[in-house]
Symmetry: C2
Subunit: 512 residues, 2 copies
């Protein structure tokens, strides 16, 4: 132990009231321990040797218990009460106290025995899923899924909810979200997307060069991705880019944000767009106000806002003609034998190709949300008891046929494709669609605020966009909830309009 202990004062703008100072000291302690969990988790996916799993699980469990105890500590409650009685707090300081209370209230509502049972069951269930999926062993998996759903129902009852138990789950990932309004949003979206999909597929026909069958050497991909990551504004002195089976972002502190991607020699897009995607998450995590480090003001609002940042860079920026007008000549020079004969328009058609498919993570921008709509319909039905785990396979297959016109050939590429359900992540999928809608909405607002934005992107200049996102989103921390943030940043709450207009505009431009 050769480190200096955390200093007990926070140098915020206003003179901090005493209970607030003590509160932030407790908060920074909790966040410091949560960062340690973040490192354990990052390391597990990127560095840990195979035999390290058992010990790692013990360290994760031990730290999680410590953190839970900290949230439940009566001293935290007392300081929160004292801060509520404090008239001198700034808006940001009030947000710190409000959000700490929110996290505390959730923690104390879950009995330790239930938390332990959920942790143990989801861990085992995830392992069962990993073994059962390649064998399409639905009989092994379904009872575990049923158990996980039942435990999450118990959790919802402990947490409480506004209208329906599923609200409690949504609220874990998207504070303030409600099942009813989410259902309406997704139904309206589906009503527009299904006919749009038909029109695009018809217009697309067999046109557009494909990159299938071409090769892209991995070292050259790495160099190109690293360059784009830096130029979009990710600070490599405060982060890393590594490789893992599934790309992800782990923000330990604003000064240490870790991204991963994965490379394939036959698929240029996989690493490129996952780097842009995780880069968007990473710029968010690097962009919190440093004076609020270790508090909820240095944390993302919600998964739906986090995903808006990744999707904006991946799609609105990364699949645009503006972006590739700048980068495509260099990309061609990097991979001359594969790209010399593919012009910019053909390349853009290729990266924006719409293809209804079985697998969510491979889906294009149009069909992606139809995957999410189906998952939401199934999750709410499961949670309401209208559907049993055993009936999920056929409900899934029916839904894929009606939403996307494709039929899974096996459960592994059907309802068992994602890890989420096996580890209890119910209420999580809808945040992906929230991210997609908000990305388009924010990008729209950024263009309104900055008429020169397109020209900047065509010139490979991203500072104006990063700065705008910093002001409107990153530096806000958890000051507002997702919808309030969207209202403040764009003038309206989350809506599908800008996203649908964005798709219409893009595909009209591509296919006339």
């Amino acid at each position: 132990m050769s480190q200096s202990p955390a200093s007990p004062t926070l140098s915020v703008g206003s003179v901090a009231a005493k209970p607030y100072v003590a509160l932030t000291a407790m908060s920074r302690d909790i966040y410091a321990l949560r960062s340690a969990v973040g490192l354990l988790s990052w390391d597990q996916e990127t560095m840990m040797p195979p035999a390290g799993g058992e010990g790692r699980a013990r360290s994760m469990a031990a730290l999680s218990r410590v953190i839970h105890q900290r949230y439940c500590d009566a001293r935290l409650r007392d300081l929160l009460d004292a801060c509520d009685a404090e008239p001198e707090l700034s808006a940001e300081q009030k947000s710190v106290a409000r959000e700490l209370r929110r996290d505390r209230d959730k923690a104390v509502k879950i009995p330790e025995s239930l938390a332990a049972e959920i942790a143990e069951t989801t861990s085992l269930s995830q392992r069962v899923w990993a073994e059962a999926r390649p064998k399409n062993d639905t009989k092994a998996f379904n009872p575990w899924l049923a158990k996980v759903i039942s435990l999450r129902r118990q959790e919802a009852e402990c947490l409480g909810y506004a209208e329906t138990p599923y609200d409690a789950l949504l609220d874990n990932y998207e504070p303030g979200a409600r099942t009813g309004s989410m259902r309406k949003l997704l139904r309206d979206l589906k009503a527009e997307l299904v006919p749009m999909l038909g029109r695009i597929l018809e217009a697309q026909g067999k046109s557009g060069a494909s990159l299938d069958g071409k090769a892209f050497l991995v070292p050259a991909q790495k160099a190109f991705n690293a360059r784009i990551l830096v130029e979009m504004g990710f600070n490599m002195a405060a982060g890393r880019l590594d490789e893992s089976a599934h790309p992800f972002t782990e923000g330990l502190y604003a000064g240490d944000v870790r991204l991963t991607t994965r490379y394939s020699e036959t698929d240029l897009m996989s690493a490129l767009f996952s780097t842009l995607h995780e880069g968007g998450h990473g710029i968010y995590e690097q962009g919190f106000l440093p004076e609020f480090a270790g508090t909820p003001m240095a944390e993302a609002v919600s998964l739906g806002i986090h995903e808006s940042q990744s999707r904006l860079w991946e799609n609105q920026v990364g699949r645009s003609k503006d972006f590739w007008s700048f980068y495509y000549p260099d990309l061609q020079r990097t991979f001359p034998s594969s790209l010399a004969a593919v012009n910019l328009d053909a390349f853009l058609k290729s990266v924006n190709r719409v293809r209804p498919s079985l697998i969510r993570v491979e889906a294009d921008e149009v069909t992606y949300n139809l995957h999410i709509v189906l998952r939401f319909e199934l999750e709410t039905a499961l949670f309401a008891g209208e559907l049993e785990a055993a009936g999920l396979e056929s409900a899934w297959n029916d839904g894929m046929r009606s939403n996307l016109g494709v039929t899974p050939d096996a459960p592994a590429r059907g309802y068992m494709q994602d890890v989420h359900w096996s580890c209890g992540l119910l209420g999580y999928f809808p945040t992906y669609t929230l991210g997609n809608l908000r990305a388009a909405q924010l990008f729209d607002a950024a263009h309104r605020d900055m008429p020169g934005l397109s020209a900047d992107i065509r010139a490979g200049k991203f500072a104006s966009l990063k700065d705008w996102l910093g002001r409107k989103v990153h530096r806000q921390g958890r000051c507002l909830d997702g919808d309030a943030l969207m209202l403040a940043a764009t003038g309206s709450k989350t809506s599908a309009g800008p996203f649908l207009a964005y798709l219409k505009g893009k595909y009209a431009q591509l296919y006339g």
Copy 2:
């Protein structure tokens, strides 16, 4: 949190008494948290981006406080008392309880305010040292050194000691070691080494090929080192080999042991021998009994025993004719342009070349311990108040002249060369010499027990040696203290005899 919580039972051979079961659950919890600190520390030296330092320091401090609180928890004391009253415990189980009490007793004796002051001062002092050393700024460094020594004196008073305060520091790294016997051991050693050094230098003369000026491509070094590491018995499925500025080993769990080395294109020896050295540490950390994971029985006895494992593989094995009889032809084939003209005897002379020098970490086997002798003399004088920090530079230079016949050209290559003192590691250096002596002593005993050992090594077979060390050292955990372990393994306590005989034999063989 998707991990299964630690199970509360330990499947040891005998039926475990109830307080013992509860005790091991607490122990495993503490060790799980300590492993998390280990990962934070490993990552800091190998992976962490530059801007991550501030957040990392907070996570380290927060976790260290949690661990300290756990050791001081009254429940731990009560369980230890209950275990003491338990007649059914096995020898190993008694060791677990005894060593946990030892660690607990040390933790509770240090007031939290002193622990915090030591942590903060040594952290700052280390930064001062890092800045002052390249500038030879003794005026900046000396007051910090004085402060660190004064804090360590206070710590010694809190911990208590048998004869002299320095005993308390020694005991932190080498339980049971005493200043008096350490002084005698080192004096006797010095009395033999100084004349031996003269004789070797005379015999060596200007003979022996040198590898200076030759080049060794790093990728080829990496492949060669990785092969040796696996063949000596390090399990790569339960560990990693990375690079860092200073090589080290971090054992998180027996299933996750991390080594580092460093490569230089102009220095074949640096990576090769540091890999063998850290590999020795690593095999120790991988070799604890799995059923005692998360207890002191899955932990090294002391630094002096740990160092015996690294030095044995680095020196007794790695600088021997037996070893290179097997590997040298392959090494020549790996680096043909640099080694084709260097025969085995010339190579052995080169890797065993004796050269009195200013820098400890570059020292050969003969002069290395003379560096340690000097540090011990100076540390004990500083601690006894017979020497002030301000007088250290000239005392150091005098000692180097009389022990080694060399005079430092600057403090950076003199008393400021090592990080240890700046971060308060007083009483630590002597364990390096204990490691050197014990390595020779253990290797001797292994040869006595296994007459075919030399032939095994000449055939590139290390399983017999690894297994012998496993039985005599690794699987013993903290059952015995360092001297008792040496007695059990070799028939005598730590002594300089085998080491001196080893050196005499080696240099007689090399130079006749």
